[in-house]
């Protein structure tokens, strides 16, 4: 039950944070991460429109053989993506806790400009602690 990586996408579709927490993952260049974020943002927008049920919120979970990707969208349009192994049970709860760490150490940081890439030491440390705690369970 491990968490592989975390991505945060701002409301314009730009990647503002990404971090890997497991060994052995494929290495991507920074450009590829940006493209990944933009693509996901686009897919998310499309899925929320083509949904047969009205008032849909867009893609929430994407499952493959080797991983599953959960997406949590906040009321302001910021998306939190969490990639975990396929048998991970509580990815939603983990996402909520990542959101809490974000609300604490990014939003309350006076040196952070909203929608810009996140460069807060306390956020990195807090997230590291959280993921370590979740992975060791």
């Amino acid at each position: 039950m491990t968490i592989y990586s975390v991505f945060i996408i701002n409301k314009a579709g730009g990647l503002i944070y990404n971090k890997e927490f497991a060994e052995g993952l494929a290495k991507l260049s920074t450009n590829e991460y940006l493209v990944l974020a933009g693509t996901f943002h686009g897919v998310h927008a499309i899925t929320s429109r083509i949904s047969p049920v009205p008032n849909s919120t867009g893609i929430e979970m994407l499952q493959a053989d080797t991983f599953k990707l959960h997406c949590f969208q906040t009321a302001t349009g910021t998306k939190f993506l969490l990639a975990a192994d396929p048998n991970h049970q509580n990815v939603d709860a983990a996402l909520r806790r990542v959101y809490e760490v974000y609300a604490d150490y990014v939003m309350k940081n006076p040196f952070y400009t909203p929608e810009m890439p996140i460069r807060a030491e306390l956020f990195d440390m807090g997230l590291q602690r959280l993921i370590k705690q979740l992975n060791s369970v």
Partner: protein, 188 residues
């Protein structure tokens, strides 16, 4: 003081309220963190340089400190006035800290080199708990606000001093901050 009957219960104007009624009132640390974050951004826009920014934060704290001193003395020490250095420092360390942050400060030390230097430390200052200082501004310490409060308390008690905030993070408490208090000769 008349309680006017009205459809909506009117709160008593703040200057008429009893001083002791609201002791131990707490506010949400998250709400204060947002307010403090805005104060810091406001000061940063107007400051020209890190020293100026620290001075502005210290000034904000100074204005709070004058009122904190009056309130705490009126609540806890109505008949005695501190006239010893150690007394006023102890008052700040326990009383003022407890009313502002809900706990006593973590240590009070006397400086080793000079007679007129003292240090109060807090292992995790609540106001700067969420602030990550970027590399360019690493000299800045957001606890300059607390330094301002302490400086006002000391000035108001007739112990003029200069108070500055320094980060003394340890492995166990990476956010540990120390306030260095340097007393003027006139107060000693």
């Amino acid at each position: 003081m008349s309680n006017r009957p009205s459809f909506v219960a009117k709160r008593v104007p703040i200057l008429d309220r009893s001083i002791n009624k609201n002791r131990g009132n707490e506010i949400n640390v998250a709400a204060f963190a947002f307010l403090f974050s805005e104060m810091l951004q406001y000061a940063q826009k107007r400051a020209n340089g890190i020293q100026d920014l620290e001075k502005r934060l210290s000034d904000f704290g100074y204005r709070v400190g004058i009122r904190v001193l009056e309130l705490q003395v009126a609540r806890d020490k109505p008949n005695r006035r501190e006239n010893r250095v150690l007394g006023i420092l102890y008052f700040i360390h326990s009383n003022v800290w407890k009313s502002l942050f809900g706990k006593q400060a973590d240590s009070l030390e006397k400086g080793t080199e000079n007679d007129d230097e003292y240090m109060i430390s807090d292992n995790e200052p609540q106001i700067s708990k969420f602030i990550s200082i970027p590399k360019e501004l690493s000299v800045l310490n957001a606890a300059a606000f607390i330094a301002g409060i302490v400086e006002a308390v000391l000035d108001g008690s007739q112990f003029p001093a200069r108070v500055s905030a320094h980060s003394t993070g340890t492995d166990q408490f990476p956010l540990r901050t120390t306030l260095l208090i340097k007393f003027d000769k006139s107060g000693m």
